[in-house]
Symmetry: C2
Subunit: 528 residues, 2 copies
């Protein structure tokens, strides 16, 4: 059952009097459950509990945190079909997607459980003393990563499970030793409550301190603003629009004590089609890319929104094929009427720009269903009009037709920061386009060869983040085990008594982790 | 010879018409050389050259960058006594300090040269493909750190060599593959020009691209503001006051494309003296701390500015001893009349606060010489008056006399973020103060046992940075090899052709670096 209440630590709470509902875009009706908007007092209590919980939680050994994360995964699985049903009712996404996302979510939780149970992630670094060094003795210094404090996580509209309540931001922050306060996404706050209940059950079963997790409902911006400005919050995780992410970044930067914000925001994921690839496999590419552009109604941060190529007969054929394939795809339901409205508005805005030609457009899909579309613009027009880089969140892509390699390179050079950049090449063709590749590398967090940008593997070599505005800090990423480093800081212990050091830094390495000792990596072979 | 001109890349330039001079605080006279304030056109040209140089410099192999850094060290050494003379004339610091700082500076350059020549610092991480995985093939993903782009470095008033022109910020940024534009500190711009000339000679001798380094003079804030707001600058390094660092942070956060700022700012480096330590070794401690407080006229970011202890007869004796020892120290010349003026003003401000008692004060030192002083305040007064935490940059410290352990713990809890926190204990006494230690750990970047905070070892286990306002981003540090990570971001390559991958990520590991392969650390044993 969905109570609609907030979790303030382990307690269900609804002290405010404002309510809101979620919407089923598939049936085009409001869902019957009511959500209670968190009150100022609830926001403050959640932060205070998180602050108190931090004192205990930050000292928990990796196996305790791992136990907690594994139990969250189990409790999410135990929600069974009820979770899948509410997920679908709040998003219009198909059951297969819901189940796939649930699998990814519990997979992420277990990945972080393994990471902290093993323990080497803290980057323990030891430089032992040289008491006889002249002119001054060298002290014993030992350093490791320690958690920052309470983290505020904003749920993402397009990933109700994998990037919301118990998603990658929450899992990585809890793994690092930081309590989490979630601002649930209003479009799927029922799903959020179910997941939150799983986290709370796991916290209780594994003996975590009250306040290690809270979940707040809100349909507006006030609760989020209060959380970011609250003096007890120490870092922010966000996935969403540039406008939303930038607003949070500005709030955090304007605090008396600024705090780090990792916002994963807009990206149009440029793809460069090289000439021979278009010639040799244009037809296949058109099918593949029609699929990638329309996947999940284009509601992915890695959706390919800009397709670059040099003008040619082969490009014209490719465009024809792609246009045909794109309108052939059965339209998908979008997440929310609001999202469809924005999609239509953003699409119209691009269409109205000088030099933009609509090549294909589906204009008669049902309520809340996406009308996929393809546009074309010249390289020279693209280079001078920055607004053509704005993300159109939905199944839309624009071909940028360049008159020469030089123009293509210039078009890539003026790109804003992106999550991904893709080169589609026929075998070794890419070797002749090194400048284009270098320009693209400079603008992205992930380079892809002969693939599609959609589909984000969760592993340690993944980088999901990129130069602004893809994310607010390109030095970190939101996907994979490295995401934990957003929430920690190094702390050194100088000449510290061995018994008072964290276990990770003690002489006899009781946790058997990999460490760096006087510049040498000391690997614990027994674990390999 | 000091020309007073700016280095815009390899070229000496003085297109502006404003000049300024530096000051010899020891002789209390202006130095005779004139410095040319950088013009808007020079700022812009330096940034453009850096941007162009980046395209070439970022692809240079580690051994080329290492060669450049090693040559900078050699060229600095080749400046010989001339550098030491100008350093002393611009700072009033003694020759021994100048030579020590030069040794540290070239040591840092060589440390970063070794780091990039060895190459494992890029954190190469490889997750190989699983083409048969169901339901979806896993792609091959390879990730490493790549440089951000041109970095702007602001010289520090108190470290003309080790944290200015070729100091830790510049050395780490150049090592990472980022060109550097230095805004020279106006108090020692002559020293800055000499060091800049050494960097330029090294760049020319080792074939570095023009623009890999520039050095700009300025006595005001305009040049710095232009550099931070310039669209081609990608990160900022700064060492100095909270006011200065925060101003740069705010400028960078307000850009259309925000960029990271690492500002190492104020810290009062709290020291907790436990009761038995005071009883057993109070006299020795008083001597040691009188030395630490007055070292270099207290002009260190690690100067111990707040000394906490529980009220007792032993504390009173310690205070008497410390007061006696502090005024006994022969006063030091401060860096600049301006710095002495601020010191006197800040000291007076603290003295005028309710409840602050001046215990010892030297009031008759010569022009520009520091008047060391010791103050006392009660724990209860300290807890409620945040202004008592303001750094008094100079040889000043305040004893916070707490009525109980509880009050001591509260006083530590309300502390702002600090670079260091020290516990002075008699053997195992510290075991009875775990709450105090936990509270202190939460506020600092480095914990010190039975030592003084002054003296910062340059090694990989050092953390020099801390919660705000000690630094603007506690997740990074300014000293030691880890400082390189401020200037890089991870980039992933998906299914990328082996021959086009950076050498660090290629199959056969041609650079023989340590890498993480499918979760396992693969160590290159031949190098150990």
């Amino acid at each position: 059952m969905i109570t609609g209440k907030n979790y303030i630590g382990n307690k269900l709470s609804s002290s405010g009097n404002k309510t809101f509902t979620t919407f089923n875009p598939e049936s085009n009706t409001e869902n019957y459950w009511k959500l209670y908007e968190a009150s100022d007092a609830e926001v403050d209590e959640a932060m205070r509990l998180a602050h108190d919980a931090f004192k205990v939680y930050k000292t928990m050994p990796g196996r305790r945190k791992g136990d907690f994360l594994n139990h969250i995964a189990l409790e999410i699985e135990a929600l069974g079909d009820k979770l899948i049903k509410v997920y679908c009712e709040e998003t219009g996404l198909p059951e297969g997607r819901a189940k796939g996302e649930r699998a990814r979510t519990v997979g992420q939780l277990r990945m972080f459980a393994n990471l902290v149970e093993e323990g080497s992630w803290v980057q323990a670094t030891i430089d032992t003393a040289l008491p006889d060094r002249a002119p001054m003795a060298k002290p014993d210094l030992r350093k490791m990563m320690l958690p920052l404090g309470p983290v505020v996580v904003f749920g993402a509209s397009n990933f109700p499970l994998a990037y919301s309540t118990a998603g990658g931001d929450t899992a990585s922050a809890l793994a690092s030793g930081c309590p989490v306060v979630v601002k649930s996404h209003p479009m799927h706050a029922g799903t959020g409550e179910l997941v939150a209940s799983a986290i709370i059950r796991a916290a209780e079963k594994t003996g975590m301190p009250n306040g290690v997790f809270s979940n707040l409902n809100s349909s507006g911006i006030e609760v989020g603003k209060k959380l970011v400005e609250h003096p007890l919050s120490k870092a922010i995780g966000f996935t969403g629009s540039i406008k939303g992410g930038r607003a949070l970044y500005d709030m955090a930067a304007n605090r008396e004590e600024p705090i780090p914000v990792f916002a994963e925001m807009g990206s149009v994921n440029p793809v460069v089609f090289l000439p021979r690839a278009l010639k040799e496999k244009g037809k296949t590419l058109a099918k593949t890319y029609a699929g990638s552009i329309t996947l999940g109604a284009g509601q992915f941060c890695t959706n390919p929104g800009l397709l670059f190529a040099i003008d040619s007969v082969e490009l014209d054929s490719f465009i024809e094929e792609l246009a045909t394939e794109i309108v052939k795809v059965k339209p998908f339901c979008m997440l929310n009427p609001q999202i469809k409205k924005y999609y239509q508005a953003n699409k119209s805005k691009v269409q109205s720009e000088t030099g933009v030609q609509i090549k294909a457009s589906l204009d008669d899909s049902p309520d809340n269903y996406a009308n996929q579309a393809l546009a074309i613009v010249s390289g020279s027009t693209f280079i001078v009009n920055k607004s053509l880089q704005n993300e159109v969140f939905g199944p839309f892509s624009m071909i940028v037709k360049c008159s020469s390699i030089k123009e293509l390179e210039s078009a890539i050079t003026v790109l804003e920061g992106q999550l991904t950049g893709t080169i589609v090449s026929e075998n070794n063709e890419i070797f002749y386009y090194k400048e284009v590749v270098a320009a693209l590398q400079n603008r992205v967090g992930r380079l892809i060869f002969n693939g599609v940008p959609t589909g984000v593997e969760v592993c340690s070599a993944m980088q999901h983040g990129g130069p602004y505005p893809a994310s607010t800090d390109s030095r970190f990423g939101a996907v994979g085990s490295q995401a934990i480093y957003r929430w920690v800081r190094p702390v050194s212990f100088q000449n510290w008594p061995n018994e008072l050091l964290p276990l990770e830094l003690q002489d006899d390495n009781p946790l058997e982790i990999n460490r760096t000792l006087n510049g040498d990596l000391i690997q614990n072979n027994s674990k390999r």
